[in-house]
């Protein structure tokens, strides 16, 4: 990948066309070719055809950062991490350890050993100056003599300071182009005239950075490993073992004042990890009985495929225990946050999501779409995620057009119950009326097979023709509402012997002709 143009794309939106993903970072070669961050991938490829892409994997970078920080601690006891790839170490008191030059060489050697060969080091009196010093492309390491931070930064441009584009443009328009020119004026000159980012940048330019690396803290981990010694596959025995593991973990969490947010279960068969499952909790909990209930639901909904010899149970995410009053009564307000907080509803939703999935419990939402499939969406109650095609509907306008049903009237229209998947059928039809304004190719369906038998279509609506989405998967369909009549059937022939009809007298179906596939379907029945 060295010297090749590549970019890292944002992967925040799932199932999105790769062409629409934004560029987060680009390599030096890509930048030279004209690729810039915040471009879409399509635009970037138009500029540089040999572009290689990878998805931005935040988890991977964090774990690499953590690993390298663990190695760097050998060179300095105080260490701090900023963005991925940037570390701050305390370089004080190294005179008797070979000096700052030796520190720089050791740091680069250690980074190279871990696979990072392009590292650079900067040593200065404050963190900001050291960061600027490390960005030099001419040398692998830069040491700013003690007390000379301001002299070092004086000739540098103000674009290196953390300024908003507007503030930067304003300062440059006033003729302030270097840090020395900025520091030439007193701080009070900027106060009241510019925003707070300019004041913070002024302080950094004066080598006054409050940030300093600190002693690392021991990361807490809560995990229990149990080697059974023999193979086990019974759910009851598994739960018995898990109960004692959860009791131990709950006690440790309680001692630290923490609650579990997510559990990870790993099952091994002779050192072979064959099942790993993450169990997310809707609300942090430290109650071992509740956690066992949730784990049991997960095992029942997705049973183990093999017997196991060892289990590892990890609390993969935890948080501070919250002390707040639980709502004792189910609120009648439309605020769903309040509803979800109710204990009984929360337990119910946890059980449902563990067994049936997080998207099982949904509520209907109208969307401004022309296709039947896109004119409404099921929004999960728990995650509240919206599909990318969702467009809100002006319900006040729709109600004004349709009106509200009278006191004793049913809601207008019939409910459609879909066939999943749509049922392919055979249809016989006749040519449409030549006087009709429709094209001569329009044909009217007169009979349809349904559940293995022919039925006459006694009444059918004019087709509702919908087409679109030509840029993705083209859709061209004609929708008919047809009334199937069982009383008048086609005469039985040798190939279709007379069978007793199982259908009722009237049946209203949604008949669809897919022009792309040239085939008929019964999308569903109106009930």
């Amino acid at each position: 990948m060295k010297d090749r143009p590549f970019v890292l794309l944002s992967s925040s939106q799932e199932n999105l066309n790769i062409g629409r993903c934004k560029v987060l970072l680009c390599s030096a070669s890509a930048s030279k070719a004209g690729v810039e961050p915040s471009m879409t991938f399509t635009e970037a490829r138009a500029v540089c055809s040999q572009l290689i892409w990878r998805a931005y994997d935040d988890k991977l970078y964090k774990s690499a950062q953590k690993k390298l920080a663990g190695e760097l601690i050998a060179l300095s006891p105080r260490i701090g991490c900023a963005e991925p790839g940037i570390f701050f170490l305390d370089a004080q008191g190294l005179d008797h350890l070979g000096g700052e030059g030796k520190l720089c060489r050791d740091l680069l050697k250690l980074a190279s050993r871990n696979g990072f060969v392009d590292g650079r080091v900067g040593i200065a009196g404050c963190a900001f100056t050291a960061r600027i010093a490390s960005s030099s492309l001419k040398k692998r390491w830069t040491i700013v003599p003690a007390g000379q931070d301001c002299d070092f930064m004086a000739p540098l441009p103000i674009s290196l300071l953390p300024l908003s584009p507007e503030s930067l443009a304003n300062l440059e328009a006033l003729g302030i182009k270097t840090i020395a020119q900025m520091l030439a004026l007193p701080k009070v000159s900027y106060e009241g005239r510019f925003s707070s980012d300019v004041i913070s940048a002024y302080e950094l330019a004066g080598a006054s950075d409050p940030f300093s690396p600190s002693l690392p803290f021991v990361e807490k981990s809560f995990d229990v490993f149990f080697d059974i010694g023999s193979a086990l596959d019974s759910l009851k025995e598994t739960l018995f073992i898990l109960k004692s593991m959860l009791d131990k973990l709950s006690a440790e969490l309680l001692k630290e004042g923490l609650s579990a947010d997510e559990l990870t279960l790993r099952f091994y068969n002779d050192n072979d990890l064959f099942d790993e499952r993450a169990i997310k909790l809707l609300r942090p909990s430290v109650n071992s009985r509740f956690l066992l209930d949730v784990v049991r639901l997960s095992l029942e909904s997705k049973p183990l495929k093999r017997e196991f010899t060892a289990i590892r149970l990890i609390v993969s995410r935890f948080s501070r225990e919250a002390f707040e009053q639980i709502h004792t009564k189910l609120g009648s307000s439309r605020n769903n946050e309040k509803e979800v907080n109710d204990n009984s509803v929360l337990l119910l939703m946890q059980r449902l999501s563990s067994r049936l999935g997080e998207t099982a419990l949904v509520r209907p939402l109208a969307s401004d779409g022309h296709l039947i499939e896109n004119s409404g969406f099921w929004q999960p109650v728990l995650s509240r995620s919206m599909p990318s095609e969702f467009l809100p509907v002006d319900s006040a306008y729709v109600d004004k057009c349709l009106g509200t049903p009278g006191k004793d009237n049913l809601m207008p229209g019939l409910v459609l119950k879909r066939h999943v998947p749509a049922m392919p059928v055979f249809v016989s039809s006749v040519k449409g009326d030549s006087d009709s304004s429709l094209s001569a190719s329009h044909s009217v369906p007169t009979a349809v097979t349904y559940k293995g038998q022919w039925y006459q279509i006694s009444r059918v609506t004019m087709p509702e023709r919908i087409s679109g989405l030509w840029w993705e998967v083209p859709v061209r369909k004609s929708y008919y509402v047809a009334l199937l009549d069982k009383l008048s059937r086609r005469k039985p022939s040798r190939s279709t012997p007379d069978k007793k009809s199982d259908l009722p007298a009237f049946m209203t179906v949604l008949l669809v002709f897919d022009h792309q596939e040239q085939s008929w379907y019964v999308e569903g029945v109106f009930d």
């Binding site: 049936l356 209907p364 409910v415």
Partner: protein, 273 residues
Amino acid sequence: MVQVGVANLRKELEQLFPGKWLSPGESVRALKTGLSFLDVLSPALVRRHLTEWFGSSSSGKTSVLRTLCSRWCASGLNIVYIDTFDRLLASDWCDVGNKNEGRFWVLRGGVTIPEREAGLDYTKNALWACEQLIRSQAFDVVILDLAERGVITSSVHARLKRSLERSNTSLIVLRDDDSLSSDSEMGKFSSPVSSAAGRVDFGFVEPVRIEYGVDGPISITPTIRSTIARAILRAGMGVSGGGKSLEVSVSPYVSNRLFTHPPVPDRRTSKKG
């Protein structure tokens, strides 16, 4: 005079809060539907009991149920619909419970999720979920749609009944039975349910209402016939026979897909001669 005043007040309160009234003389707590033609016959939906709604796969029962759900939500009741085989369309139900006090949720079986494992027993999951929803006491009405494939065994029936007795929920079970037809089997119990509070049968009948557009028919809506029979719950007595039929018609529907944008204002000026 006082009786007339009380009757008028009751009528007004029933209009304002349909479904939340305990009718005098009834020993069981019933859910009013808010539709006078249904409520005047007998309360078909009893709390803490199971009511079965039978009909063929295309009989109009879900359309009637949708109106009831909308009215119950408007009066503050919480409803959940267990759609075992993912057959409902979201666009048909988005007007139910979206701007009202009560909530309307749907529990989907996951048939349409491609990552689901093959051979999953959707009916078993639906029955389990039904029991959990009843026991949570968070919903006033639970609707279980078993389509034509779901079967409730006697043991499951007993469990649901026990859960209902400890809750304040009314359970409606929707069953598709294409062996019933509207012209012959209405009103008869094909399999008597000893402990169901009621049974309602549905079917499409004539007349069929057709709305015509410029070139031909644009909507077809048959009339829905329903027969309500209610079991009298007294010790030692079985199901009381008899049912009352009624027919309701549904207004034609123009999809909101065609009306989502306000019309372009007509700024044409009159032609000057």
